[in-house]
């Protein structure tokens, strides 16, 4: 595992709402997340973990403070730059958000084609390969409506990982998976971390994952209340 930081969060504050309804949700969060590590964000509902995840993941504009992602500062960055940096990330959503009119392979292809069109045959081969790795080799042509919840989630994971992202942001990625599949997915993320330096930041309540995490950060009321490096 590299000792460089994939993500540096400095004095991060965030508010929701306007005028009198404006309410601060994140307070002075400072984090440095190592390249190749598996970090888990925990906390009760409304603690701000998802907000921090979206701010780190370049999905929400930084209002105050700074997030440095793969060496790139997000505050006041242009939409073009945001699009560029997002292409180096992978997202796994709790709701799989698969495209209903695309087959499993085509959904995964969307994760590759964001880097440029062309070489469809090669891209299709790569998409089928990763689906096979996730146990969906016999479901490649299935539409999402014909897949189970767990299978859909695995397609979403394949879509997030197929282009070898440098950072993976995941929101309860194993919630829809059975025990074996859940552990298999986290092991895959761990392997990617050690072999390719892929950094994973995950929001989860799954205790099985906590055991495999390198670091566990707990948030409450928008503040980091606990930060445990498990490898220490």
């Amino acid at each position: 595992m590299s000792s460089t930081s994939a993500i540096i969060v400095t004095e991060l504050n965030h508010w929701f709402g306007q005028g009198e309804a404006r309410k601060q949700a994140i307070f002075d969060v400072n984090l440095k997340i190592k390249t190749g590590s598996l970090t888990v964000l925990m906390g009760p509902s409304g603690s701000g973990k998802t907000t921090v995840l979206t701010l780190m993941g370049c999905l929400r504009d930084i209002q105050n403070g700074q997030v440095e992602l793969l060496g790139y500062k997000l505050f006041d960055s242009s939409q073009h730059d945001k699009d560029s940096i997002r292409r180096r990330l992978g997202f796994i959503f709790q709701a799989h958000n698969l495209h209903a009119s695309l087959s499993a392979t085509e959904n995964v292809l969307m994760g590759l084609q964001v880097h440029g069109a062309g070489r469809i045959a090669q891209q299709t081969k790569a998409a089928v390969h990763i689906l096979d790795l996730l146990g969906l080799g016999d479901r490649t042509d299935y539409l999402p409506e014909n897949l189970s919840g767990g299978q859909k989630q695995r397609v979403a994971i394949a879509r997030a990982l197929v282009a070898n992202p440098q950072i993976v942001f995941a929101d309860e990625p194993t919630a829809a998976l059975d025990k074996e599949s859940g552990i298999s997915v986290v092991k895959m993320l761990k392997t990617l971390g050690s072999s390719r330096g892929t950094t994973t930041v995950m929001v989860t309540h799954d205790n099985r994952i906590l055991d495999m995490a390198d670091r566990i950060i707990v948030l409450e009321d928008g503040r980091v209340v606990s930060d445990t490096l498990k490898t220490e």
Binding site: L59, Q79, D83, R86
Partner: protein, 391 residues
Amino acid sequence: MNSTLRKLLGRLPLGWLQLSYNRTRLFSAIAGVTFANVLVFVQLGILGALNGSSIAPYTLFNADILVSASDSNTLSDGGNIARQFMFESSSVPGVKKGTALYIGQMEWQQSESASATLQVFGINPLSSDFTTPALAPLMHLLIDENRAVIDRRTRGIDSNVFNTVSRTDALAMEFNGVTVSAVGLLDVGSGFTADGTMMVSDQTFLRLFRHRQSGAPDHILLHIDEGVSVDVVVNRLRSVLPGATVKVNSYSDAIEADLNFQTTERPTGIIFGFGVMIGIVVGVIIVYQVLATDVTSHLKEYATFKAMGYPHTFFIGVVFEEALILAVLGFVPALVIATLIYIGLGSATGLPIEMSIVRAVLVFLGTLAACSISGAIATSRLASADPADLF
């Protein structure tokens, strides 16, 4: 379709995949675009027939300049013009010669059950060089009293009636107690105001229309000297003839002005032109509805793609891809249906309604433009796809 588009675009044809996923919505959208296209085609067909039938009589004559009464907007409307202007015109430098043209309408009762309204043209038969080459050889047949050349495509009359018409086998026609012998045939067809055309000598014309006078024709046709500019002679005539009572135009400008009047001033032209606009608006609304609904129902997926780094231009491309697919798929059946409607309308009315390549291409380009406009409006909904809402 999928693989063709994939090769064409070099990426997944997301627009087509989205459209084809919901077959019911796709067919409804295609039917809507087809309907709008058929509406436009039919209106344009009738408008074209109006224009075509307006121009058709002009094709009987060969002239460089048309002198008409100042209130004359078409060949058949407006007041008469004093024949003396023909003589005055002849003295203008550059004018070679002129002839008077008389125009009237008569009802021909061919049999108990068949009748037709004929537009009758009267012209000096010795001025055959003022008629088209196809008609010129027949003009000498009109020198004899009460002779006529009749339209073989006269609406309402059995075409077999004209089969044997010739100088030696004349067709007898009765008009207000005057018997006219049709000794030749011409080919104009029916229009909105007349079922057919008949050409007679100026003298026969005056016998048929007893209230008309030889000194007051409807128009004066002029030929100019070779090598002289029509515009120059037109300007000279305008400076000589009284502008308050006389209108001078080159023959081609007169045709253009007639067409323009039919299309923009006459109720028929305005109504059919309005019909075309309605067709376009209906098409734009239908395609917009389909695309806007499609964008709205895929906002979550689009937000996901935004999170993955797809730029805004990608989504605009998808919406336009859908718009263009709908334009093409809606146009093809519309072309077939409209062609069949043209054939039916043409045979039922005798009007010159035909599908031309130019019209088909124009409507197709218009469909692409209308669908693109719909797509452009629908893309405004893309802004609602916010990746931050996904978590």
